[in-house]
C-alpha cells in the first residue's frame, strides 16, 4: 500500500491515468479545475497513456469524447455545475448511443446567482439522462470508484457519472491508497467493448429512427441499467481481492436497536459516519448508487433493521417538490408494508452539515408535529 496525501480532484485524475485512458477532452471550471490540470501535468511529464485535449467548452468536451468512444477508445472527462448543465444535450446523446464514457462531476451550485458551494442539484438534475450516477464520500472512494466506473460502463455500454462534493472532497487533502500503475492496469485491462465506427464497415449509427424502435432501445437501456448494482458488486468483489477494500451500491451502519437512520450521499455521509457516536439511537445509510436507484437493497436494509424514521440529507432542492433524495427514497419504499417516516433535511445551496443540524434533526421526532421538510438554516 502506498498512501499519498491528495485531494479528491487529484484522486479522480489519478484514476483516469491508472485506467490508461486513450483520450481526455476537458474544459476547466471551479471546483473541477484541478482534475484538468493534474491530467495535463501527467501528459506534460509523459505519464499519460493517451492524449489530453483542452477544448473550447464543456459541450465540446463531451462531444469530443463521443467521437473517440465511437471509434472504440477509452475516454474520460470531468466537469461541474454550469459545465454539466451546458453538456445536457450530449449527456442524453451519450446514453442513447450506448457510449461507455466515464465523467466526473464535482458538485457545485448552478446559478443564478454565482455560487461555488457544493449543492448537488447539478448532477441530480441530470438523473433522467440514462447515465449511471455514483456518489463518493471521500477521496479514496473517488479514486476507487472512478477506476471501477470504466469497467462498469464498458460492461453495460452505458455512461457513468462519478460524483463528489466540491471543496469538501475536491479540495480537501486526504491520505489515499493509490495502487501502482501496473497493478491498476492489470485490474482494469484494456477496453473490451466493440467500436461502433469501424473503417470499411458500412453503418448508419444513431440515424433517424421511429418511436416504435426507440421504445425497444429505451427498454433495453433501462433493463441493462438495472443490472448495474449486480455488476458493481461483482467488480467490487474482484477489487477487494486485489486491493483489500470494496463498496456496495448502498451500505448501512446501524447500531443495535437504532430505529432512526440518516440517509446521505456524498461527503455528508462521511460527516454523519464520524458523528454517529454522538447521535444516540441513529444509524447511517450511505447511498452511493443513485442511478439506477438501488430500490431493493434499500428496502431490505429498512426492513432488516425495522427502521421507522429516515432523515434524508439533501444538499439540493427540486424547487416545488423538495430534496431529490427524499423523493427517490419515498418512491422506492412505497411498496413496503411498514414504511418509515421520511424527514427531509434541506441543505440546498450547499451549506455545511454541522453538529447543530445533525442533533437538531435527530431530536425532532414524528410526534413533535414534524414537517416533512426542514430547512437546514432553521436548525442552527
Amino acid at each position: 500500500m502506498a498512501y499519498e496525501l491528495i485531494s479528491g480532484c487529484q484522486a479522480a485524475a489519478l484514476a483516469a491515468q491508472r485506467a490508461g485512458v486513450d483520450l481526455v477532452a476537458a474544459y476547466p471550471i471551479t471546483p473541477q479545475t484541478a482534475i484538468v490540470e493534474t491530467l495535463a501535468s501527467f501528459e506534460a511529464q509523459g505519464e499519460l497513456k493517451g492524449e489530453f485535449v483542452s477544448v473550447e467548452s464543456e459541450y465540446s468536451a463531451l462531444s469530443y469524447c463521443n467521437g473517440a468512444v465511437a471509434a472504440g477508445a477509452r475516454v474520460f472527462t470531468a466537469t461541474s455545475s454550469h459545465g454539466l448543465a451546458y453538456m445536457h444535450e450530449m449527456i442524453q446523446w451519450c446514453s442513447g448511443a450506448r457510449f461507455p464514457i466515464v465523467m466526473v462531476n464535482v458538485n457545485r451550485t448552478v446559478g443564478a446567482p454565482w455560487v461555488l458551494d457544493p449543492d448537488q442539484g447539478d448532477s441530480l438534475s441530470q438523473r433522467d439522462t440514462g447515465w449511471m450516477q455514483i456518489y463518493c464520500a471521500n477521496a479514496q472512494e473517488v479514486f476507487d470508484i472512478t477506476l471501477q466506473a470504466f469497467l462498469l460502463s464498458e460492461e453495460l455500454l452505458l455512461p457513468t457519472m462519478v460524483v463528489f462534493d466540491g471543496f469538501y472532497i475536491s479540495h480537501t487533502y486526504e491520505p489515499v491508497d493509490v495502487p501502482e500503475m501496473d497493478q491498476a492496469r492489470e485490474f482494469i485491462g484494456p477496453p473490451q467493448f466493440q467500436a461502433q465506427v469501424v473503417p470499411g464497415v458500412q453503418a448508419n449509427l444513431h440515424g433517424l429512427s421511429t418511436g416504435e424502435a426507440q421504445l425497444q432501445l429505451v427498454r433495453k437501456r433501462h433493463e441493462d441499467m438495472l443490472r448495474a448494482p449486480e455488476i458493481f458488486a461483482d467488480i467490487n468483489n474482484r477489487f477487494e481481492k486485489v486491493f483489500g477494500r470494496g463498496y456496495m451500491p448502498v451500505e448501512a451502519l446501524i447500531p443495535e436497536g437504532a430505529k432512526t437512520a440518516f440517509l446521505a450521499a456524498g461527503s455528508t455521509a462521511e460527516t454523519v459516519r464520524w458523528f454517529l457516536p454522538e447521535l444516540e439511537g441513529c444509524g447511517l445509510i450511505q447511498l452511493r448508487m443513485f442511478r439506477p436507484f438501488p430500490k431493493d437493497e434499500l428496502g431490505r436494509i429498512v426492513e432488516e433493521h425495522g427502521l421507522d424514521r429516515l432523515i434524508i440529507i439533501d444538499r439540493n432542492c427540486s424547487t416545488g417538490t423538495g430534496g431529490y433524495f427524499a423523493q427517490e427514497v419515498r418512491a422506492a419504499l412505497y411498496e413496503l408494508t411498514e414504511r418509515p417516516v421520511i424527514q427531509d433535511l434541506l441543505l440546498a445551496g450547499g451549506i455545511d452539515l454541522t453538529e447543530d443540524l445533525l442533533t437538531g434533526a435527530a431530536q425532532k421526532s414524528p410526534g413533535d408535529g414534524l414537517v416533512d421538510l426542514q430547512w437546514g438554516v432553521e436548525l442552527r
Binding site: D22, L23, A25, G50, E51, V53, V55, E56, S57, Y59, S60, A61, S63, Y64, C65, N66, G67, A68, V69, A70, A71, G72, A73, V75, E89, M90, W93, A195, Q196, V197, V198, P199, G200, V201, Q202, A203, N204, L205, H206, G207, L208, S209, T210
Partner: protein, 300 residues
C-alpha cells in the same frame, strides 16, 4: 479520373436515398465520397443529411456514418479522428458533414475550436442557405433579399450572409476552398488536394435546394453555375489562411446577378433598387477577393 471511373461500382452513395429531387446536398456528398473514398468515416450533424442518410439499418452511404447533435460536429469529428488513431486506423479519412446551420450558426463554436487546434480532418459545409430540413428558416448563411419562413413575404432577410471563408482563413488552417456542383472536376481536385494534406481542412459547397429556393429540381446545376458566373459564389482556395488563389475566373462568362436572383422564387419580392444594391455588394466582395488573391504570395 478517367470517365470509366464514374461508374456505379465506384460510388459510395446508394440510389434510393431520402433527398428531395434535385437536392444539391445529396449531389455534393455523392461527389465528395467518390473523390475521397472508400476508406472514409463520416460524422454527420443535424441537417438534411440526418434524413437523407436513411433510417438505420438502411443507409445511403457505404462508409460508416456517425450522426451527432447539431452544435457538436466540429468536436465529434476531432474525437473520431483521435479515437481512430488510438485504434490504429491512421489511413482512414475523417469527414464531418454539416449544413450551413451546423457550420455558420450553432456549430460555429466547435468548428472554430477544432480549426484552431488544427484537428486532422476535413469539414464539409453543404450550404443551402437556410434551415432547410425544418422548412426554410433564416440562418446566418441566408443571403440578403431572400424570403424564408421566419422572414416571410413581404419581409425578407436583411443583413449580409456571414463570410465563413474569411472566418476560416483567419484561423490559419492548412486548406479552405469553395466548390460548386457545376464544376465537379474542380471540386474533385480540391477534395483530393485536401485529402493529401494534414490538419484542419474546410470546404464550402453551395448546395441549391429546390423546395427552399423555389426552383425546379432540374435547375440545380444551372443555378450552381450561375452563382459562379455572377460572382455570387466565386471558386477559390486558401492555403494556410493567407495564400488566396482563384480556381475559376469568369472573365468571359460574367453574368449580371439579376439573372441568378430572378431564377429563384425566394428572391421574388426583391425590387430593382435592392437588386442594384445587391449587385454592388457582390461587386465589392469580388474586388476584395481579387485584392486578396493578387496580394497573396502564391507558390507557382
Amino acid at each position: 479520373m478517367k470517365i470509366t471511373d464514374y461508374t456505379m461500382e465506384n460510388e459510395l452513395m446508394y440510389s434510393g436515398h431520402n433527398a428531395c429531387p434535385g437536392c444539391g446536398g445529396a449531389l455534393a456528398v455523392r461527389y465528395l465520397t467518390r473523390a475521397l473514398g472508400p476508406n472514409l468515416a463520416m460524422a454527420i450533424t443535424a441537417s438534411c443529411w440526418s434524413i437523407i442518410a436513411g433510417a438505420p439499418p438502411l443507409t445511403a452511404l457505404k462508409c460508416p456514418i456517425l450522426h451527432c447533435p447539431f452544435p457538436s460536429a466540429g468536436a465529434v469529428g476531432s474525437g473520431l479522428r483521435r479515437g481512430l488513431n488510438a485504434k490504429g486506423h491512421y489511413d482512414t479519412t475523417v469527414v464531418v458533414l454539416a449544413g450551413d446551420g451546423g457550420t455558420f450558426d450553432i456549430g460555429l463554436q466547435a468548428l472554430s475550436g477544432a480549426a484552431q487546434r488544427n484537428e486532422d480532418y476535413i469539414f464539409i459545409c453543404y450550404d443551402n442557405e437556410a434551415y432547410m430540413n425544418t422548412g426554410m428558416q433564416t440562418s446566418s448563411a441566408t443571403p440578403f433579399g431572400a424570403r424564408t419562413t421566419t422572414r416571410p413575404y413581404p419581409l425578407f432577410k436583411h443583413g449580409q450572409k456571414k463570410d465563413i471563408m474569411r472566418i476560416m482563413a483567419a484561423h490559419g488552417i492548412p486548406y479552405a476552398a469553395t466548390a460548386s456542383l457545376a464544376f465537379p472536376q474542380d471540386m474533385e481536385n480540391k477534395l483530393k488536394k485536401a485529402q493529401e494534406m494534414k490538419g484542419f481542412r474546410f470546404m464550402h459547397i453551395l448546395s441549391p435546394c429546390p423546395p427552399g429556393w423555389g426552383t425546379d429540381s432540374s435547375d440545380t446545376i444551372h443555378l450552381s453555375r450561375l452563382a459562379v458566373f455572377t460572382n455570387f459564389f466565386p471558386l477559390y482556395e486558401i492555403i494556410n489562411g493567407e495564400q488566396w488563389r482563384m480556381t475559376y475566373h469568369p472573365e468571359k462568362t460574367r453574368t449580371p446577378l439579376k439573372e441568378y436572383l430572378e431564377a429563384q422564387r425566394r428572391f421574388r419580392q426583391v425590387d430593382e433598387v435592392t437588386i442594384e444594391a445587391l449587385q454592388e455588394e457582390v461587386d465589392q466582395d469580388w474586388e476584395g477577393l481579387l485584392k486578396r488573391v493578387s496580394t497573396s504570395n502564391v507558390e507557382k
